[in-house]
Every structure is written in C-alpha cells, then in structure tokens.
Symmetry: C2
Subunit: 432 residues, 2 copies
C-alpha cells in the first residue's frame, strides 16, 4: 500500500477500505506518511466527502492510534458530553457538578479555546492551582473517589487526532463534516464513553453557520456512534448570540457558579438543564426528562451541586475558596459600562464579533502558544428581542489595557443591531 | 495575506487574484509557505480547477520565480517545442538538428524520464562525455556559434515549478490540467521562447488518456501562451503504441540518427517531419508546411542535419564518433528475439505496458535517484494493423540481466493483442 495511491483514490471520489484508512492514519501518526501527503488527503476528503462507513473507520483508527480508556472498573455506564464550541458556552462547568451530584459519575476531558470559541480548560485555569493534566491513574482514582473529573485531553488518547487537527488548522481543511465528526468522536470513544451527548451549535458564533450543516454534522456523529456500538444523542442549539451574559474565562466561571447557586441568566440556565436531562436520560440514570430536571433542580437547591464543584476543584489542586468567594478570581483593572446610543429593540448581538473581540482583549489565543488573560471579557446582560432606551447599559467591557478597552468597546457596539419594531427572541434549540 | 486564506478561497471554488497567486508561488519558493499548505492548495486546484486567467497568472508567477532567459541578443525569434511525454518519443533528437540545419537557431532545455515515459536528457547521456548542465553563458555562446543547444533545465529557471512538481508527484496532484499546463508553459516562457510548439500526446502511453483531456490541455496551454504574449501552437498525436520501433535510451538515439541519414520507421519519420513543419512555419522561417517539409528533406539528403548533430555533440563535450558509428554506443549483453505464438493482425501494442517494461529492464527510474542502464530496451518493428504469422519476430528485448530479460519478454508479449480479421492502422495525429 502507498500513501499516494490512497490520496488518488479519494481524489477520484472512490470509497476507501477500512485497511486503507487504518494504513493512512497509522502511517501519519508514526511519521511515515508526511504532513504534505496528509494535507492533500484531507483536502480530497473535504471536497469529495466520506460515507458513514469510511467516517466510522476513520474515527476508530484515530481512537485506536493511542490508549483507549477503560472505565468499566470504575463505573458501569460512562456518559460524556461534547459541545462543538461557541461564544459564552460554559455549560460543562455547571452541568458536570449537577450530573455528578445526581449520582452519575462523570469524568470528562475538555479542550482549550481556539479562534473565537472559548475552551473549558482555559476557564478552569482561572482557578489558582487547578491542574488540567491528570494522569490516567489519577483520573480513574478521582472518578472512583468523588464521581467527578474535569481535565485536559491526555496526549495518550487519539494522538492521530491531535496531529491531524493541527495540520487541518493551517491547510484550510477544518470545515469538513466527516473530519470534524471523526475528530470529535475519536476523542469521545478513546475517553471510554458509552453514551455521548452532542451539543451541535449553529449560528454566527459557531463553526456550523446554518442548520443544514449542523444537522449533517449531528447525523454524521450519530452514525459513527451507532456503528461504533455507542449510544449517541445530538441536540442542535442556537449560537447566533452569546450563551448567557458572560464571555471571558473567569467571568464565565462566575456565571457557571451562579447557576449552581440557583441563579444565572435564563437562557444559559435552560441550556444547562436541558443538557443535564439528556445526560441523565441517555444513561438511564433518570426515567424521563421531567424526572431528570427535577433531580437537577433538587441538587441545585440543596447545595450538593455546588458542593460537587468544590470537591472537584479541591481534588485537582485548585483553591476552592475562589468558588465560594468569586470576587477572588482574576479581575480586570478597567471595567467600562457601554451605553446604547439609540432606543429600540435589539435585533442582533453577533456572537462571532463578540467572541473575536474577547480574543483581542487577551481572553483567547491568536496562536496556540499565546498566553491568556483570564480576567478580561464582556458581560452582556442583553438578549435579542430586548427593548432598550438610549443611555441604557448594553454591556460591560473588562480589560487590562486602555487601547484594548477602546477597541473592545467599538467592536462590542458593532455586534449590535437595532430595530424600531418589536423583535422575537431567538430560540434556544432547533428541531433535529 | 495568509496562505491558509488562499487555500480556503480555492477550496470554496472562488477565483484567485493575480496577487494571491503570486503571493502563494513566491511564498512557496522561498519556503515561507510550507509543503503541506502547497499540497492542500494543489489538491484544491486539481478538484476545483482554475480559469485561463488564473492559470496564466500561475504560469507567469512560476516563470518569474527565477531567471527569465533573454535570447534576443542571439536570435530575434526563439522557437521551442515540448512533448507531453510518451513511449519511444525521441522526436527532439531528430527535429532539433533538422531545424537548426534549416537555418533556424534552436536551443532547447529538456527533461529526464519519469515513470513509463522516457526523457531526452537520458537518451543524450548514452553519448560518452555529453554534458547536459550548460551554464546560461555557455548556452547563449553555443547557440550563437552553431545554432543548436540541447541541455538540461537550468535550476535557475522556474525554480517554483521544480519544487511544485516534486511535491505533486507524491501527493496525487499531478493529473490537473491547469497545473500541468502551468508547469510546462512556465519552463518554456522562462527559457525565452517566443514561439512554442506543443505536442500533446494521447493514449495508453501518455499522461492524457483520451482526446478530450488532451484537447483541454492543448487549449489551456494555448490560452496561457496567448495571454502571456507568446505564439503557441498545439498538435495532438497518438500514443497508444510506441512511436517508432525503439524504446530505450541508446536504442532510441540510434533510431533518431537513422532519421538524419534518411531512414527510420515510417511513423516516427512522419512525426519528425510534421514537427519540423510546425516549428519552421510558426517562426516564419518557412512560408508553408510544404516548403518546410521540402527544406527538411533537403537537409537530410545533403547530410547537413546529421552534421548539425555532430556539431552539437562535439560542442557539449560528447564523442561525435558514436554518432558516426552507433555500434559504439552502450549495447546490452543479452538480445533476444521474441516470436509470435499465433498468426493474426496486431490489434494492440500497449505503449504503457512497453514503457513500464523498459523501466523494469533498468532503462528508466522508479525513483528520481535511480541510475539508468542506457543500453536496455525494446526494438518493436511492428505496428497495429500488421499481419504476422506464428513464428515471426514480434520484438527484440535488450537486457543485461537474465531474470529481467525473462520478465521483459513476458511483459512485452502481454502488450500485444491480435485479431483474426484485418485491423486499421492507428492515426498518427488527431484533429485538434
């Protein structure tokens, strides 16, 4: 078998065999197949597609390129969730403690932000001392002990995916549904998940720009999950405007804590509860969505969900006191309230623009090696459909640099559009 | 400008601007743009195409990536020819001395064989001492002095093309009409040609497998030539069976010399005369095809074409005596005549099979670094349509290794097909 022949076959729109896909993935992982061959292949896949069988073979080959976590000695049912990424999406930070407090052990590996989309690991690292590099042994031990783990992707899991992803990022081959689906699912399968809840975000602030693309991705990931013998479920959620009010690492952590205290913005709270429902029902831990929601509300109101977060932070070396006293988290030196220059109904808060402005403030990375400023970001206590009067506060900018503050103010304002007549609020979820 | 954005634009089927194409070609040549980005881009071009304007911009960017030869102080009209490559195609070796003997100065840079297709340089190196690495100064001086040069591509000309070509070869991106057209034309333009005669080969033993593809390539190259202010002309010629009788480096040189002595196989002779007609008429050196052909026949019969070849060989350090006494050229130790096992009309002599068998004998390279055996190859004094009786000689194998001889005998026989009823001879040229 030769790499170039496999590239040519996909270039010519032919179906690749499982052996060919495994040969390519293994060869690329070991370095025998070069970056330039993998790049040509990825472009051929992007433009000519892959069927479900090929995509599943690709997923399994990437999952099997490293260790596959076996958690069966810790818990009989491993449930995982994945969001395709959005602006203000701090869902995991609230959902995991709730699910764990409901009695379903939940160990999750998360990623960092890239581009305009934030990452759970970066948000967690707002907590002084919090470790995101647990070993497999630490992962299993902690999951057994307290029923919750939230750490980084182990380099031993699906190493092929890491290598492919870095290459795709610089070769214009990110936007391929089979490649995105295989990347996500290979990590979930390598992480030992039996049940996988997929939150496919769609809109300005998501990688999938329209519902049609998002449905294709959801369908592809469900197809892989089923062919791979896992239990997948996918929901489509709106990412035209930021989720919740906070965008920025420490600001989002604070908002996630508010949910666990029974507060938080309505849209984000609903998103969290819906995610908990999916995780508890797919795993059989709750008999119905209504029962799952009730369980979630119970662990929030009795404080056990917040307690679970405190246990998590303590177990991973963080200072739990910042959870109890969020004012001790990194805080920007400059906070400015930006006011509406006109009255009207908000018709748009472009999540992509806000996400990119947050990156420019220092809250995200332009390059993988960039350092993050955990304190900066936006608080936007407004939603599409809200009526505002001239002079009302539209949003707060949290910055550590006057020039960046001024830029963020301009960019933040440019994300807004107004209508003189009433505007419907945006839906939270779309029909799958 | 960023390489990844240019890749994405072509991936999304958008037209690239001249600036974008120059940025990409220059960046790749200088090493700022990586092999993997160029590979992804090449695959996107292969699958999504380029229009004539983009292809011309690509050609000019590659031509301008190095020195552009200016021969205006040597000759007012520079005519060049290019064959897209075939099996037994030794046309340049006969045509150049004829054209030069007709009074049109002709300096040409040729390439090496790759895959099943032979290369003029390899054939020339059958001559002991012949140098194919002339400097630009030597090239111009020799062209001025004797009106004929036949050397290798200078590394200073179109370096971008050399780099792209090597990459395309291992990434499944060779078979793209815009990329092939730009590669050929960039070298011709960098070589200083005003008039360019393109021999586009089509059939089993060519890179273009059908007339439709060949016409597209011819059209693309003519389009570039015209947009670049050159005078292009293209002919389509048949490459289903080998051209002439000889396939193999020294064997082909001998056959090219036979033409200059007034002999040679009829099909190859006609191909040479047609090529001379095109070169003499496009450059204005002859008023009509008939006049050009008569001039060619004159310089053959009065010996001045052969004399021109002797001057060429002597000027480039080769031993001219091997031209006068071709039996002094490298000669294989084993020569076997292979006979027909059946009677009938020859319906196929698959040029691709013969070309690959010649490579396997050692006459070509599987890798660029392989050494060539100049002596080995085939003499196939048969053409499609010939009637043979059982026991007639079909072809000779020239080998230096008994095992390779046996393999070449088998492969040579497998190239033949027979019909019990008469078969039409193949056309030499196709309507463009």
């Amino acid at each position: 078998m030769r790499a170039v022949d496999i590239i040519i076959k996909k270039r010519d729109k032919l179906e690749l065999t499982g052996d060919e896909i495994r040969y390519f993935v293994n060869g690329y992982t070991s370095g025998e197949i070069t970056d330039y061959q993998a790049a040509a292949w990825a472009m051929a896949v992007l433009l000519n597609g892959m069927n479900d069988r090929e995509t599943t073979d690709l997923t399994m080959a990437m999952a099997e390129s490293g260790e596959i976590l076996d958690l069966s000695d810790v818990t009989p049912m491993v449930v995982d969730k994945h969001s395709t990424g959005g602006v203000g999406d701090k869902t995991t930070l609230s959902v995991l403690p709730i699910v764990a407090a409901c009695g379903l052990p939940c160990g999750k590996m998360s990623g960092r932000g890239l581009g305009f989309s934030g990452g759970t690991l970066d948000k967690l690292e707002s907590i002084p001392g919090y470790r995101v590099n647990l070993s497999t042994a630490e992962f299993k031990d902690q999951l057994r002990r307290i029923g919750i783990v939230l750490t980084g992707q182990s380099a031993d899991l699906a190493p092929a995916d890491g290598k492919f992803y870095a290459l795709r990022d610089v070769t214009g081959t990110v936007q391929s549904i089979p490649l995105i689906a295989a990347s996500i699912m290979s990590k979930k399968i390598a992480g030992g998940a039996n049940c996988i809840v997929l939150d496919v975000k769609v809109g300005h602030g998501a990688f999938m720009k329209n519902q049609d693309e998002a449905r294709q991705l959801a369908r592809a990931m469900r197809g892989i999950g089923e062919l791979a013998g896992r239990k997948p479920r996918a929901v489509l959620s709106n990412m035209d405007q930021p989720l919740g009010f906070a965008v920025g690492n420490a600001l989002e952590l604070v908002e996630a804590i508010e949910i666990l205290r029974g507060g938080g913005p309505a849209d984000f709270r609903e998103h969290v509860l819906r995610s908990v429902e999916e995780m508890l029902t797919i795993s059989g831990a709750a008999p119905s969505n209504a029962a799952a929601r009730q369980a979630a509300l119970n662990v929030i109101s009795n404080g056990s969900a917040l307690e679970k977060l405190l246990q998590l932070v303590a177990a991973q070396g963080g200072d739990p006191d910042v959870i109890v006293h969020p004012e001790r988290l990194p805080r920007a030196s400059l906070i400015e309230s930006v006011k509406a220059a006109q009255s009207g109904y908000i018709s748009q808060i472009n999540a992509r623009v806000i996400g990119e402005a947050a990156v420019a403030l220092g809250g995200g990375r332009a390059r993988k090696s960039d350092q993050i400023d955990h304190a900066v970001g936006f608080i936007i206590p407004r939603k599409v459909g809200d009526k505002v009067e001239k002079g009302d506060v539209l949003f707060e900018v949290h910055a550590n640099d006057p020039a960046k503050l001024a830029q963020a103010r301009r960019e933040g304002l440019s994300a807004f559009a107004f209508s003189p007549s009433p505007v419907d609020p945006l839906p939270l979820f779309f029909e799958d």
